[in-house]
Each structure stands twice: as structure tokens, then as C-alpha cells.
């Protein structure tokens, strides 16, 4: 498949994630949208991994990688995402315990 398609797809997912962060007020949903952004990145990484694999059979291109590093990167992203989720949800729960809401609009004691 042309790499451009994957790029556009990843960008679309990424942007939808961004839009979600921008428009939603529920902290959990915002967090989910961020996960969506990370997944868009993962998808693109895998696509690039395969692109570079394709390049490696092309003599004109400088061969740098067989794409394994990208897939491992995806792996590490997932690791980090998991860690983040642990912490993030802990924070959200703590927040909820205090104000009984996860609406980010209520977070406005700190301003100006």
C-alpha cells in the first residue's frame, strides 16, 4: 500500500484525538483521546517499519534498518502508555474523591 495512505490515516486518527482533547470536558475521555493519538503514532510507526523494509530491497535507497526498531518502539510506547494510564487514572480517581467530578472545567482554581 502507498505509504501516503498510512500517513493520512494516522494523521486523521491523530487529529481526531486532538479534536477530542479540545472539545471534551470529561477527563477520562480526554485521556482516551490521547491514547487514540498514541495509537495513531503506533500505526504509522509500523507502516514506516514496513516501508523501510521495502526500501531495503530497493538498491537506490540507503539501507538503514529492517524495520524492527520501529516495531520495538511501538512496544515501548505501549509500555509507557500502560505506565501513564496507571498514574493518570490514579490522579483522576484522586480528583474524583475530592470533588466528585471529572469535569476539567471545574479545574479553574489556578488561573491568571
Amino acid at each position: 500500500m502507498p505509504i501516503n495512505l498510512y500517513i493520512f490515516l494516522a494523521l486523521a486518527l491523530f487529529s481526531i484525538g486532538v479534536i477530542g482533547v479540545l472539545t471534551r470536558r470529561n477527563a477520562i475521555i480526554i485521556f482516551m483521546c490521547i491514547e487514540l493519538m498514541l495509537n495513531a503514532v503506533n500505526l504509522l510507526l509500523v507502516a514506516f517499519s514496513k516501508m523501510h523494509l521495502a526500501d531495503s530491497s530497493n538498491k537506490a535507497m540507503q539501507v538503514v534498518t529492517n524495520g524492527a526498531d520501529a516495531q520495538l518502539f511501538v512496544f515501548f510506547i505501549m509500555v509507557v502508555a500502560a505506565a501513564e494510564v496507571t498514574v493518570g487514572l490514579a490522579i483522576i480517581v484522586m480528583m474524583y474523591r475530592n470533588i466528585h467530578s471529572v469535569d476539567v472545567n471545574f479545574l479553574n482554581r489556578l488561573k491568571n
Partner: protein, 458 residues
């Protein structure tokens, strides 16, 4: 490598200390001793004595620059511990864990000061960020602390997403995550991926160092977090990220073949402007310092703007000067009963040593000669002048520096020239002596910056 491994281990040690004892002074002693060990280990490595022989496969590169920075960061942390360890333990019941998290952060700092691949940059930044989210929210009953933690977390993860997108695009163009190898690989037609990716990476790093217009988290988080942790966050962590930033663009900008000066200058100018201007109207010293840290970041961005030897020296001096001064001020701030400017009224009468040292810290932040802050700013400005383009930025920076005098001096005015009680908590003599030591260092390095700079050339 000494630093990375030791700091991770020390983090674990502290975790276990927390399990076996609740004695605060034990925890404090262990943490301080551990940090001293860490510092010594790093100095040992600077002198070529490696504790661990690890094949990093070129993913980590330890050079003088990074090691010197580590030394500075650890020394600053040591001073921070000496000044504020008691206050860290006052934040909540999980004293040992806070120290453990700080050690993990130091691990992250030593990773980002020596990374050679974007993967480790990413991991290092995350190792720094995740404990910070927690420390920010560690005052669990305090709604401001909660709010700050959540804001920081949401926006931090958002910027992580942007960073990753940037890394991916760069990888797409070059086929590698290694930052020096990326320069050799050139795939015609894909440069635009590289540029876009680099830009996204730049943006996310700008977020981490709170450069405008990606700085919005900074005032709220610094304000909301427990003051002791704000101190750590605003100094050592920020400096660490800056070193990563500089390290990253040391290779990347020059390799990209584009003129980055324009956008860097715009971001720098915006940071200076917003940081300085907004700081003026603040009523709380803590929040003022948050904005001031944005403003200082603006000056540090000069290191990126004009990449040359001067700026390399300068960023080291800058991080040192900035950290010393800010840690000192925050340590005093922690002791204050009232964080507003009025709270400082008459401090010179009630606590002359605190007032005098705070004055020196503030003068250093303002960049007055005879303090290291002056040389920090000097190197930044000189490097920009040397680079020869976008001179307007230099003048803009000057104007902003002048504005900064106004709000820094407001504190001095409160302490010295206004009447008031200037109430503080009880101050131990050791605290005073350490403050004096720091003030002394600031002046010493302010008169003889060579003592630091020589290390870069020995």
C-alpha cells in the same frame, strides 16, 4: 552510566527504606547520603573512573558536557535536599516514596543528558514526567495540588503524543532513531517528513521547558504543586530537559538544512514576552516565580537559537545560576507563612539572613553583575550577537530583562523598604548557613565564572 544505574538503585533503596522505617531523620539521612554517593560517582566518572562497564550500543553517549551537567544537577539537588528535605517530608505521609521518585527523576535527567537515540529521549522524558505528575499531586487533600496534577498530566500526555508523532515522522524520513546517524542518512524527497517531525519534536520539547505558546501548564502547575516540589521541578528538572533539548538540536538542526532561527526566535521572543509581562501583575510570589521561570526559559532558548561554543558554555552556567538562585528562593518561600508580596514585607528586619540571601538570589535571576546570573545572561546574549542574525531578538531580550527587574525587585522592596512582620516558620541555623553558602557560590561564580567553564576545556 554510573549516575543512571545508581540513581535507579537508590530509588529502589528509598522505596524499601520507606517500608522498613517511618523515622523521618533516617529517611532524610539515607536520601542525602545516597545523593552524595551519586554525586561522587558522577564526579568519579568525570575523571574516567567507571563503576559499570556497559555496552550501550551507542544509545547513550557520555561526554564532558553531559557529565558536567549531571554534576551540576546533582549538586543542586544536594543543596535542595539540605535545604528542603524536612519540608519534603512534611508534604504527606509517603516521605520515602517522594525521595524515591526524586531519584527516579534524577535517573531520567541523567538519561536525557546523555541520550543518543530518540527512544531514550522519549523514555527519559517520560521517566522524568511521570514521577512529576505524582509529586505535583502529592498533597492529596489540597484541591490546588489535585488540579495541578491533573492539568499537568493531561497536557503532559498530550505533548507526549505530539513528541511521538514527531519522532515517527523523523524515523520515516531517516529510517533510524539514532540522532547522529540520522544526519548521515539522506533520502531525497523525504526531507519534509524530517522537518515536520523535527518541528513537532521541537514543539513538545518546548512544552516541557515551558516555552510560549506551550507554557500554559507552567504557572498553574508550579502554583498548585507543593512548594518544595515546585522548587525541584522549576530548577533541576527544567534544566535537565533543557540539556536534552540542546543535545537534541545540537545535531538535528544543523542536519536539517533548514533555517530554524526564525521559529526559534519567535518562540524565544514569545516566551520572554509572556513570562516577563505576565509576572508583573502577580500578587503571589510563588506564581510570580512560575512566570519568571518561563521568562528564564526564554533566555535559555538562546542556546538553541545561536548554536555555538558560547551558548554551550552559557547553558551550563545558566542552569547552574538559575538552579542555585531558584532553589534558594523557593527554600525561603517554603518557610514563609504568606506567599504574597505583602507576606515578605519587613522580612529584612525579622530574618536578615534570609532577606539578604534572597536578595542575592533575586539579583542573580535579574542578571545583575557580580552574580552568576549575569554571566549566564551574558553568554546567552553574546552567543546571539556572535551568531549575527536576528539581532532584534537580543534587544527584545534586553527589554524583557529590564522588565524582569521590576518584579524581582518588588520582592526586595517588600523585604527591605516596606514595614511588616515578615512571618516565617522556625529557621534552623543550618538552613541559614546553607543559604549563605549558596549566596556565596552565586557571587563567587559571578566573579570567577572560569571555575565552572574550565571544566569544559580541561
Amino acid at each position: 552510566m554510573n549516575a543512571i544505574i545508581l540513581s535507579a538503585l537508590l530509588g529502589v533503596v528509598l522505596m524499601f527504606t520507606g517500608i522498613f522505617t517511618t523515622n523521618k531523620s533516617t529517611i532524610r539521612t539515607v536520601a542525602t547520603a545516597g545523593l552524595l554517593l551519586l554525586l561522587l560517582a558522577n564526579i568519579a566518572e568525570m575523571n574516567g573512573w567507571k563503576l559499570f562497564e556497559v555496552n550501550t550500543r551507542n544509545m547513550l553517549v557520555f561526554n564532558k558536557f553531559g557529565l558536567l551537567f549531571n554534576t551540576i544537577a546533582f549538586s543542586a539537588t544536594l543543596l535542595y535536599f539540605l535545604l528542603s528535605a524536612r519540608d519534603i517530608l512534611k508534604v504527606g505521609i509517603n516521605g520515602a516514596e517522594y525521595f524515591a521518585l526524586i531519584f527516579f527523576i534524577l535517573c531520567g535527567v541523567s538519561i536525557v543528558s546523555s541520550f543518543n537515540t530518540l527512544l531514550l529521549l522519549f523514555l527519559g522524558i517520560e521517566i522524568i514526567s511521570i514521577p512529576l505528575y505524582i509529586l505535583t499531586g502529592s498533597d492529596k487533600r489540597n484541591l490546588k495540588s489535585n488540579e495541578a496534577a491533573l492539568k499537568y498530566f493531561l497536557m503532559g500526555s498530550f505533548s507526549t503524543g505530539i513528541m511521538l508523532m514527531g519522532i515517527v515522522l523523523m524515523y520515516g524520513a531517516k529510517g533510524t532513531f539514532s540522532i547522529d546517524a540520522a544526519l548521515q542518512a539522506s533520502n531525497p524527497g523525504r526531507e519534509v517528513w524530517y522537518t515536520s517531525g523535527l518541528l513537532l519534536l521541537f514543539i513538545s520539547m518546548a512544552f516541557k521547558v515551558s516555552a510560549a505558546p506551550f507554557h500554559f501548564w507552567t504557572p498553574d502547575v508550579y502554583d498548585g504543586a507543593p512548594t518544595v516540589f515546585t522548587s525541584f521541578m522549576a530548577t533541576i528538572v527544567k534544566a535537565g530537559v533543557f540539556i536534552a533539548f540542546v543535545r537534541l538540536f545540537e545535531y538535528s538542526f544543523s542536519g536539517s538544512g533548514y533555517d530554524w532561527k526564525l521559529i526559534v526566535s519567535i518562540v524565544t521572543a514569545a516566551t520572554l514576552f509572556i513570562g516577563n509581562i505576565t509576572a508583573i501583575f502577580q500578587q503571589s510570589v510563588k506564581r510570580m516565580l512560575a512566570y519568571s521561570s518561563i521568562a528564564q526559559a526564554g533566555f535559555m532558548l538562546f542556546a538553541l537559537f545561536s548554536y555555538n561554543t558560547l551558548s554551550r558554555e552559557g547553558i551550563i552556567l545558566y542552569t547552574l545560576g538559575y538552579s542555585l538562585a531558584t532553589i534558594g528562593i523557593f527554600a525561603v518561600l517554603v518557610k514563609m507563612k504568606d506567599y504574597t508580596f505583602e507576606g515578605f514585607n519587613g522580612l529584612a528586619r525579622t530574618q536578615p539572613v534570609l532577606a539578604a540571601t534572597t536578595t542575592i538570589f533575586l539579583l542573580s535571576l535579574a542578571g545583575i553583575p557580580m552574580t552568576i546570573g549575569f554571566f549566564a545572561k551574558y553568554f546567552m546574549l553574546a552567543s546571539a550577537v556572535k551568531s549575527g542574525s536576528h539581532l532584534w531578538l537580543v534587544f527584545f531580550a534586553i527589554l524583557c530583562a529590564v522588565v524582569s527587574v521590576y518584579y524581582y525587585f518588588r520582592v526586595i522592596q517588600s523585604m527591605y523598604f516596606k514595614d511588616g512582620a515578615g512571618a516565617t516558620e522556625e529557621i534552623s541555623p543550618a538552613f541559614r548557613w546553607i543559604l549563605l553558602l549558596m549566596a556565596g557560590l552565586i557571587i563567587l561564580f559571578g566573579i570567577f565564572p572560569n571555575m565552572i567553564l574550565n571544566y569544559l576545556y580541561f
